[in-house]
């Protein structure tokens, strides 16, 4: 089966800045994938190229087997919702109407439901909407388009926690009924983690990790307690970080712990805290530039 998104050796250079450096990955059709990384890592550039709004310097990006740029056949199967989307001088209802003409699977019913959920007034001029309400409009269009490939680039600028929760819940509910490929770029990893089937972590234009989200949970554990006990427990194990403060120590152990490990940790009075997806991504993408060579192995 052709993957929904196929990116090969994709490089984007701006003068002396390398935004994307030989990026290669595939996204299977019908999955929700998180594109994670720090600000400036290259997430937006990547999504803009997938949406046909920018050209690669070299390498290629295919959406359902076709190049997206200036390719209507591909663009009608794809919706791109970006952070701080701008709109022409029109009313909310007209923005939805225009989208309904463009997207073949458009659901007016879902668009109306989302308008009600977010409290978006259909008659309001888009330029008079608050930043959060403009984000809500973008989300409504992105979901109601029911495009085969849905690209969300940090789509919730100005939205509070309650509105973001509505976004996640509606996305999940509609995806359950109408499965499609969703690529969601976000730095709010803890919030979105449960939604994601796979994650792609990008750091300084390079992919540093691709994995099933669930495979990453529990692969590393913070072990803390008295220095001697921590040293005894972690001896011979792969570890990431080591922090120490008068008699106490905290070390991240890489690799799953079994029942015997837990019992041993208990008898050593150690505290075990598995790293969350967010903490793991910080490990993968949060290193200072000089440290990358050591963690990318």
């Amino acid at each position: 089966m052709t993957p929904a998104i196929s990116v090969t050796g994709l490089t984007r250079r701006y003068r002396d800045h390398l935004a994307l450096d030989e990026v290669t990955f595939e996204v299977e059709a019908g999955s929700i994938v998180g594109l994670l990384g720090r600000n400036g890592a290259g997430k937006t550039t990547l999504l803009r190229i997938l949406a046909g709004q920018e050209f690669p310097s070299s390498g290629g990006a295919l959406v359902h087997g076709g190049r997206p740029a200036e390719n209507e056949a591909v663009l009608r199967r794809l919706v791109f919702v970006r952070e701080d989307q701008t709109y022409p001088d029109i009313r909310v209802r007209h923005a939805l109407l225009a989208a309904s003409w463009f997207y073949p699977n458009w659901s007016a019913e879902l668009a109306d439901a989302l308008l009600a959920d977010f409290g978006l007034p259909a008659g309001r001029m888009v330029k008079r909407l608050s930043r959060g309400m403009r984000s809500a409009l973008g989300i409504a269009i992105g979901l109601a388009a029911r495009a085969e490939v849905t690209l969300f680039d940090e789509p919730y600028a100005g939205l509070d926690a309650v509105a973001r929760q509505i976004f996640y819940d509606r996305l999940l509910a509609d995806y359950a009924e109408h499965p499609r490929t969703i690529l969601l770029s976000t730095h709010l990893i803890d919030e979105a983690a449960g939604l994601l089937e796979r994650v792609i972590v990008i750091d300084r234009g390079r992919i540093v990790l691709t994995a099933d989200a669930d495979d990453l949970r529990g692969v590393a554990t913070a072990v803390s307690g008295p220095v001697l006990a921590v040293d005894e427990f972690t001896a011979g194990r792969a570890v990431w970080g080591r922090r120490r403060l008068i008699g106490q120590s905290s070390v991240v152990v890489v690799g799953a712990l079994d029942e015997a490990d837990r019992v041993r940790a208990g008898s050593l009075h150690l505290d075990l805290a598995p790293l969350t997806l967010q903490q793991l991504v910080v490990q993968a993408a949060g290193q200072p530039a000089g440290a990358r060579e050591r963690t990318s192995a």
């Binding site: 449960g194 939604l195 669930d214 949970r217 019992v263 598995p274």
Partner: protein, 143 residues
């Protein structure tokens, strides 16, 4: 605004982000079966019902269901859904008994030893506690 500051971690109905979610889904369903909340022959929630309730990816929920199905605890009926297999409860309770010593007795004995409570004293304490706090019909103790 204030809501932003409140640490808006998504409420996944008590699932914990530090272990594989599919395993937690399987574990919770197994608990429910062992406790009799899901009777043998009863339909278990679908992938999409679980996904909506726990606010997780449907593929993750499906993986949890399949883990139990592969184990023979659930059976698939084509086009209808998954059902609790006969004998599932008995098997789960047997597994729990096997884990009982490692899960409960070991930490109890270890902590007792640390406090200088010898095994005879420990047994007396357990007996005393059971008499003072009889187990209720719901399986809890009255404290």
């Amino acid at each position: 605004m204030l809501l932003e500051e409140a640490g808006p971690l998504r409420d996944m109905a008590g699932l914990d982000e530090g272990t594989a979610l599919f395993a937690q889904i399987a574990e919770r369903l197994a608990e429910e079966i062992a406790d009799g909340g899901l009777a043998e022959g009863e339909r278990v929630p679908s992938m999409n019902e679980l996904a909506a309730f726990y606010r997780i990816n449907p593929a993750t929920a499906a993986k949890g269901l399949n883990l139990l199905a592969d184990d023979g605890l659930l059976e698939k009926r084509r086009g209808i859904g998954m059902f609790v297999a006969s004998g599932a409860r008995r098997r789960l309770l047997a597994q729990r008994r096997e884990r009982f010593a490692a899960q409960y007795v070991e930490p109890l004995v270890t902590e007792a030893a640390r406090l200088g409570i010898d095994p005879d004293e420990l047994i007396a304490l357990v007996r005393e506690f059971s008499q003072a706090h009889p187990v209720t019909a719901q399986g809890g103790v009255t404290v």
